[in-house]
């Protein structure tokens, strides 16, 4: 103990470890596990300074251990050629690309809608119920008669009006009791259409009409109906197609619509389908459209301009 009573401290005694030599270790005393760990560290270049020097000294003394230590350098994995298949799914579009894509989509959709309208529009219009459904069909004779202004004109349906055996239209006289006297006055021109079909309306005019006589069927000359023409859009596209391909081409609405649908399928990977259904005579009868969202079928009227 020190003499300083204010700060008393213990002075270490001169005690010594009896045999420290017993605790000293030599490199060859390392266990195999310890050696392997050091060898692995050496192979990783993780040993440095005195540690490395000491280990190298030991290896020089024991060549067998050097071989073992060197073998750790071969314990290295080579990356295999594993590929991630989902890579493309994770790619993102830039805002500009998204805008362009949307614009193209809208344009294509509009083109498809226009094509569908060209193809199916006339058929849909034709299907609309209207008074025109009662119009005289297949007119055989178109003529005009002069009818006095005072003469009443009545139009009604009757099978009696047609002489079925000969199929010749007949102009019936009105009931003599209801007959209206012809008055002096201006005459009027009335178109008269007659048909041999029993279901069509037959014009009944006043009995005072002079010059109207029953016709024989042989006398009826069918009026030539002008050939139906395709509308101006199809004519234009056909003309362009002919000019480009140098071949005579007739493009119809179905071809355009089908091309649009196929183009959209190719670009966007959709699965829309436009199918043309023909009748027994090989003419276009209807068009069927099907997609995951919408399916419909509409009859096609190829004669409708």
């Amino acid at each position: 103990m020190t003499d300083n009573t204010d700060f008393p401290r213990l002075t270490p005694s001169d005690d010594r470890l009896p045999s420290p030599e017993k605790l000293f270790r030599k490199p060859e005393d390392l266990t195999d596990e310890q050696f392997d760990l050091l060898a692995a560290a050496r192979a990783e270049d993780a040993l440095a300074g005195d540690s490395l020097k000491e280990f190298e000294t030991m290896l020089e003394s024991f060549p067998a251990k050097r071989v073992r230590a060197e073998s750790f350098r071969k314990v290295r994995l080579t990356p295999p050629d594993d590929r991630w298949e989902g890579k493309e799914k994770m790619l993102r579009k830039s805002p500009m690309a998204v805008t362009v894509r949307r614009t193209v989509l809208i344009t294509l959709a509009a083109a498809a809608a226009l094509s569908a309208m060209i193809t199916l529009g006339p058929s849909i219009i034709r299907q609309k119920p209207s008074s025109t459904s009662l119009q005289i069909q297949g007119s055989a004779v178109v003529s005009e008669v002069l009818i006095p202004a005072a003469s009443p004109v009545t139009v009604y349906r009757t099978e009696v009006a047609v002489e079925k055996s000969r199929g010749i239209p007949v102009i019936h006289e009105r009931d003599p009791h209801t007959r209206t006297d012809v008055a002096a006055g201006p005459e009027r021109v009335l178109p008269v259409t007659a048909d041999h079909h029993p279901s069509v309306p037959v014009l009944m005019a006043s009995a005072d009409i002079h010059g109207l006589v029953p016709l024989k069927r042989a006398d009826i000359v069918p009026v030539l109906t002008p050939e139906k023409e395709s509308n101006w859009i199809l004519r234009s596209i056909s003309f362009l197609a002919g000019a480009i391909t140098k071949e005579e081409k007739t493009v119809d609405g179905y071809m355009i619509a089908n091309a649009c649908v196929n183009g959209i399928n190719d670009i966007l990977g959709w699965d829309m389908e436009l199918e043309e259904v023909k009748n027994k005579s090989g003419e276009q009868a209807k068009v069927s459209f099907s997609s995951s969202l919408l399916s419909f079928s509409a009859p096609m009227n190829k004669n409708q301009p």
Partner: protein, 161 residues
């Protein structure tokens, strides 16, 4: 990071992340899910991450996700459960790299991951430490012990007598 850089990260590091996870789990479907989740997560914070740091971020995120999956499946084998006796060779005809990969499958997940990051990607101990959340001393210990286990496997497979 821009969208272009994000896509570049998908193309450049996608295979590496997948390989790391797949070789760690030996399950291609789970690996695919984890890598997809990782990139979805990256996309959510794409503007906050610099491209220079994205590879490390991807590996860290994928590693953490993988650990979650392993824990959920109760398949995590801790280092204390490591059993060297399981490293028995099945055949000695395979080449060295194939044998090493077979041996790798028998290592505990932590050792396997750090060795994969070291050998496949060439990461430093510090980088591996950042990715795995282990300290550098742990990383070194896992790698050295893993190497010893791999070497012992090869020895038992009669590659080295």
């Amino acid at each position: 990071m821009t969208v272009k850089e994000y896509n570049s990260a998908v193309r450049e590091f996608g295979d590496n992340i997948y390989r790391f996870i797949y070789r760690s789990l030996k399950d291609s479907h789970r690996a695919d899910d984890i890598v997809q989740d990782t990139y979805e997560k990256l996309w959510l914070c794409v503007t906050e991450i610099e491209y220079a740091a994205v590879k490390s971020w991807l590996f860290t995120s994928a590693y953490n996700r993988m650990i979650d999956v392993i824990r959920k499946d109760s398949r995590l084998v801790g280092l204390e459960q490591y059993d060297d006796s399981s490293l028995y060779a099945e055949e000695s005809s395979a080449d060295l790299n194939e044998l090493l990969h077979r041996a790798l499958e028998r290592l505990p997940a932590a050792q396997r991951s750090v060795i994969l990051l070291r050998d496949y990607e060439g990461y430093s101990y510090r980088e591996i430490s950042d990715i795995t959340g282990l300290n550098e001393a742990q990383v070194k210990t896992y790698i050295f012990r893993g190497r010893v286990a791999l070497r012992n496997y090869l020895e038992k497979a009669s590659v080295w007598q």
